[in-house]
Symmetry: C2
Subunit: 225 residues, 2 copies
């Protein structure tokens, strides 16, 4: 029955199976934007996307709303949606907010971290060190995201987590570019290790300072590009 297989991810003109649990169009469009299939400032016409993904216009519409308040899409009344182009200035602003909120999370994490979690963080740090040593930029980037995510998790701040989640999605593009700057991973690594150490030492204020120092360095690097 190979002929019956259906590529749920392929955006062809499939008739759309009414029985299927509606594959998440939001996720698909988001992925397409992050991946670069939809260029910045490209218009996103509801009817087109509707045909392209094989779902109704309502679904596309709702997806575009969701992506709008994730900050990936811009909408103007009666004038449609387009992929949001995040300028460097905006990326800096976003990172500034991230700086203070992640600082808060680092402080809270330092207060609440358990021994098991501390060990986990240290293991992450070692993995990052290894990735940098071996020049695995992509791997390092993943671990980076993982570390930030894990710290927020340990902090137990649901509100901050939601805020950061949204902010982070907006400058995936700039983040990419940043990881490729020569020498950048080394600087970044040291800062990350410092954050880990302060959290494991249950030093809230020092952890906050370390987190802010790190993001501050990210901001400088952003400005330099």
């Amino acid at each position: 029955m190979p002929a019956h297989e259906q590529t749920a991810t392929s955006p062809d003109g499939a008739p759309g199976d009414p029985g299927a649990p509606a594959p998440d169009v939001t996720a698909e469009i988001r992925a397409a934007i992050v991946r670069g299939d939809f260029a910045p400032n490209q218009r996103l016409v509801e009817a087109d996307l509707s045909r392209q993904f094989g779902v109704s216009r309502s679904s596309v519409r709702s997806a575009l709303f969701e992506l709008t308040n994730e900050g990936l899409v811009e909408r103007v009344q009666h004038r449609g949606a387009r992929v949001r182009a995040v300028t460097v200035a905006e990326a800096v602003e976003i990172s500034e907010v991230r700086m203070v909120v992640e600082g808060l999370c680092a402080a809270k994490a330092a207060e609440r971290v358990t021994d098991a979690e501390a060990a986990e963080l240290r293991a992450l740090g070692e993995a990052m060190r290894a990735a940098v040593a071996e020049g695995h930029v992509l791997r390092y980037s993943e671990l980076n995201a993982e570390l930030h995510r894990r710290i927020v998790e340990i902090s137990g701040q649901a509100t901050a987590a939601a805020v950061l989640e949204r902010l982070r999605g907006q400058n995936v593009r700039h983040r990419f570019r940043l990881a490729l700057v020569p020498g950048r991973p080394n600087v970044s690594l040291v800062e990350h290790l410092a954050i880990i150490e302060e959290i494991c030492a249950h030093a809230p204020e020092a952890a906050e300072r370390a987190a802010r120092r790190h993001l501050s360095s990210v901001i400088e690097a952003l400005k330099a590009v």
Copy 2:
């Protein structure tokens, strides 16, 4: 032609004028929640709201989505929406995030504030002082919101502004209760004046500390209730 007039605000069973520019249902529901017409945890059934406000279910649906990511409404797949009840613990979390973000804004405002804006802030401070002296709690509360908003505006941080806007909406209820604590306005007033002074003195770090001190005090007051 007085008979043709239509009370756009009255949520009766009017047939709904298709020519009308669709009064913003989102705003109406939001107002109803903030005002207390819809109690916390009350179920918000799309069909009911649809009849109640005289718009189609799709419009109500879209409004509920918007309110959901403003944090005023909770939604569960296939199980409907209800008014979100913000616990004290959540209100504290929200205020903690506000603390660091408003701290950032205060610092940026201190860097960018012009003389005209400084004068405006000082005038606001005086108005607040007068309101407290005369016991105008409501007036003070309004000026309070105005001050915070203005500082963010001066800071020029659009991202931070958006984040704060959303956070602020979520604990309107708790904010109300707080203003009524005896002696609270006096404490709050002093802190506000300190923020204003540091901003006007172009002292970013001091301004950030003052803003954090203020929010920190708000958090303590929240916990005490």
